[in-house]
Symmetry: C2
Subunit: 389 residues, 2 copies
C-alpha cells in the first residue's frame, strides 16, 4: 500500500450528544451527505463504502447499515461493507477505504461511522458495550471497562507516582477543549475540585474521568491524491493507516498500563509515514477514560513513558503545548458514539490541518489519530499531513 496516494477531500459530521431517537441510518446518511457536499464529488463517482458500527444490532435491532446508507444516499451499485472491531470500528472503516483507493479498487471511497446509544437504558448500553470484552474468558471476572482502566490507573500510579490531581488535568483540558468544539456533547470549564468531588464510578475513576454515552455519526470522502488536485479544495494526505491486534483476554496482556496493539500500530505508522513522534503537531487519541489518554499518549510515543499525566498537568498537551492532544475535546468531552469515534477523529484532524478548527492548533501540519477497541484487541493509528490545493 502507498497510503500517500490517498487524500481526504471531504468531511461531515453530526453533533455528538442526544439525538432524540433519530434512527442511526438517518444520522449516518446526514453525515455522509455533508461529506460528499464538502468534497464536491458526485454520488456516481463513489466506488466503495465502508461503515464502522459496533452495537446497532443489540441496541437498534438493525444491521446491514452499509447498504441502507448507500440506498438513502442514492449511491451506485458498489460494495458496501460494515466493519466491526468494537470501539475501533470507525478506524477500521477508514483503513479499508484507504486500502480500496491505494490498491486501485476505486478512485473515490466513502467512510461512515455511526452509533446511537442514548435511547437505550443504562443496563442495555452496559450490556451492549460488554460485547467488546472476551466474555467467555473475562465475563465472569466482574470487570467491565471502568474496572480495567481503574486497574491501569492503579498500576500507573504505583509505577510512576501519578496523582489524582495530575489526571484531573487531562479531564480539565479535554472538557475545556470541548467547550470550543461546536460538535461536542459535554464541554465544560471544570475545577480540580469539581472533578475530584464527582461521584466515584470505579475506584479511582470518578464521573468526569469517564466518557459519556452518545449518539453521532461522522463521514469522510477519500480520493486518489491526483483526483484532489485542481479540485479547488485543500486535500489532506494520508501518510499512514495501520490496523493491529492485541490480546483479546485481559490476562493475555503483559502489562495493563500499556496496550501492545497501540505500541505496534504507532511504530508501524511512523515507519509507513517516514516521520517520527516529534513531527506530530496534534493527536486525537482514544480517551474513553482520563487514564486512557495518559496510557495512550505514552504508547504512541508522543509523551515519554510514565509522564502522560505530568505532561497534561504542565500544560504540555494543551492546544498551545508541545503536542496538542485531543484539541477536539476527545471522547471525554466531544463524546463517544462508539462506531463513529474513529471516523470523527479523522474529521477533527482534517479540520485542524485545513486550519479551520474552532480550537485551532497553530501551524498544524501533521496529525495523528488513534482508535482502540475492546480491552486492546483492535487498534488503528493514522497519520495525516496538510496537502496543497
Amino acid at each position: 500500500m502507498r497510503a500517500g496516494d490517498v487524500a481526504v477531500l471531504g468531511i461531515g459530521s453530526t453533533t455528538f450528544g442526544r439525538h432524540g431517537g433519530m434512527p442511526i441510518e438517518e444520522l449516518a446518511t446526514r453525515a455522509a451527505a455533508d461529506a460528499l457536499r464538502d468534497a464536491g464529488v458526485e454520488r456516481q463517482e463513489v466506488g466503495a463504502l465502508y461503515l464502522g458500527n459496533f452495537i446497532s444490532g443489540p441496541l437498534n435491532g438493525q444491521e446491514v447499515l452499509a447498504g441502507m446508507v448507500a440506498d438513502r444516499l442514492g449511491l451506485p451499485n458498489i460494495p458496501c461493507t460494515k466493519v466491526e472491531g468494537a470501539c475501533a470500528s470507525g478506524g477500521i472503516a477508514f483503513r479499508h477505504a484507504v486500502l480500496a483507493i491505494a490498491t486501485g479498487q476505486c478512485d473515490v471511497a466513502l467512510v461512515v461511522g455511526a452509533e446511537t446509544m442514548t435511547h437505550a437504558s443504562t443496563a442495555d448500553v452496559t450490556a451492549a458495550l460488554n460485547c467488546a470484552m472476551d466474555n467467555a474468558s473475562d465475563g465472569a471476572s466482574g470487570l467491565t471497562f471502568p474496572g480495567l482502566f481503574g486497574m491501569a490507573w492503579r498500576i500507573h500510579a504505583a509505577r510512576h507516582g501519578t496523582t489524582r490531581r495530575q489526571v484531573s488535568a487531562v479531564v480539565r483540558k479535554n472538557k475545556r477543549n470541548g467547550l470550543l468544539n461546536p460538535l461536542a456533547q459535554m464541554g465544560a470549564e471544570l475545577s480540580d475540585e469539581m472533578i475530584e468531588q464527582s461521584p466515584m464510578i470505579c475506584d479511582p475513576l470518578q464521573l468526569y474521568d469517564c466518557c459519556p454515552v452518545s449518539d453521532g455519526a461522522a463521514a469522510l470522502v477519500l480520493v486518489r491524491r491526483d483526483r484532489a488536485r485542481g479540485s479547488g479544495r485543500l486535500p489532506v494526505e494520508v501518510l499512514a493507516s495501520v490496523q493491529t491486534r492485541g490480546a483479546s483476554r485481559i490476562a493475555g496482556h503483559s502489562d495493563l498500563a500499556s496496550f501492545d496493539a497501540t505500541v505496534s500500530a504507532a511504530s508501524r505508522a511512523y515507519a509507513m509515514g517516514g516521520i517520527g513522534p516529534k513531527d506530530v503537531d496534534l493527536c486525537e487519541l482514544h480517551d474513553c477514560f482520563s487514564i486512557a489518554e495518559v496510557v495512550d499518549s505514552e504508547d504512541l510515543g508522543i509523551v515519554p513513558r510514565g509522564e502522560g499525566a505530568a505532561w497534561a498537568a504542565e500544560g504540555r498537551t494543551a492546544v498551545d503545548g508541545e503536542i496538542a492532544i485531543n484539541p477536539s475535546g476527545g471522547l471525554l468531552a466531544k463524546g463517544h458514539p462508539v462506531g463513529a469515534t474513529g471516523v470523527s477523529q479523522i474529521y477533527e484532524a482534517v479540520l485542524q490541518l485545513r486550519g479551520q478548527h474552532a480550537n485551532q492548533v497553530k501551524n498544524a501540519e501533521i496529525a495523528m489519530t488513534h482508535n482502540l477497541g475492546g480491552t486492546g484487541v483492535a487498534c488503528t493509528v493514522s497519520l495525516l499531513r496538510r496537502g496543497q490545493a
Copy 2:
C-alpha cells in the same frame, strides 16, 4: 485486482446443526484450525483475518470475534476484521481476503464465517434475523423474510406458471443431496407429498421450503497462487470475487422475483473470470427458501429465466444434471448458520474441485458460489477453478 493470483489452499468446517451452546468463538476457532492444518501453513504466515458474522451481538452478547479467534489460534499481530452484510457476511469476508492477497497486502489470509443460533428462542432468532431488513422502511409492513419470498413465489407462479410440485423438486433434490453431506444438518429423503403436506409457514411457503436455524463455522486459507505451487496440495484458483449492493428497501426493487444485486454480481464475475454461465459445472447458491433457489439460478444466468423450478423438476440441476445446483444440500439441507454460509459455500466448492466431495459432481472444473444478504441489499458471487498441484 487480479483474483486469478489467489488460490484456496486449505479448508475447514464444523458440522452444521445444533452445537449445544458451544461458544461461537470456539466453533470458529475449530474450523479455522482445521483450515490451517489442511493448508499446511504456519500460523506465523497468516497476514490478515476476515471473519463473517451477522448476529452474535444480539444473540450472544459477543462482538470482536475476529480478534478473539486470532487470539485463540495464536496468530501474529495482524489486522483482524469482522465484516457484516447480513446473510452475505461470509461472502464479504471471502472477498476481502481475496483482495488482501490480490493487492499484495499479504501472502496468506484466513477467512472465517461463524454463527450460533440454536441456543436462542424462536422469538429471539426471528428478531435477530430481522436486523437484516431495512426496518425503518419495511418493519411496519409486517413482512419478514418468509413473507418476502412468499411474494416472490406468487409472482414467479403468475408470470411463469411455476407449480407447487415443481418447487417441491428443489426441496427433494437439496434434501437428498444433504443426506450425502456429512456436515449437513437436515438431509432427508422426502416425497412430494411429505413436502406438500408439511405445515404452512407463510403461504405458499411450507415447512420444508424453509432453511433451518443452525449453528456452524467454516474457514478457508487463501494464498498467493505461486505460494500454492510446490505445496503438495491441489490449489483451487479464484477466478472472480465480486460484491454488489441492491436496494435496502423492498419497495426499491423493481421486480420481487429477481434480485438486481445477484444479476449484476454474476455479470461482473463472468467478465472478471473470462468465462460464461455454460462453463460452470456446479453452483452453491443462496437457497434460504426453495423459491430462492429458483430465482437465484435464473438471476445467475445458469438456468433460463422462468425455468428454474422446471429445471429442478426435470432433474437438470441434480448432481448428474446439466448444472449441479447445491450438491451440498444448500441452506435448505446443509443448514444456514448465517455468517458461516458464504464461507461454507466456498468450502463445498473447493471439495468438489478437488474431487473429494461425498456427493461429487463428475469432472467438476469450475464452480460458482452465490451469497445474498437481507432483502437483496448485499450480494457476493465467486468463481473458482480447479488448479494444478
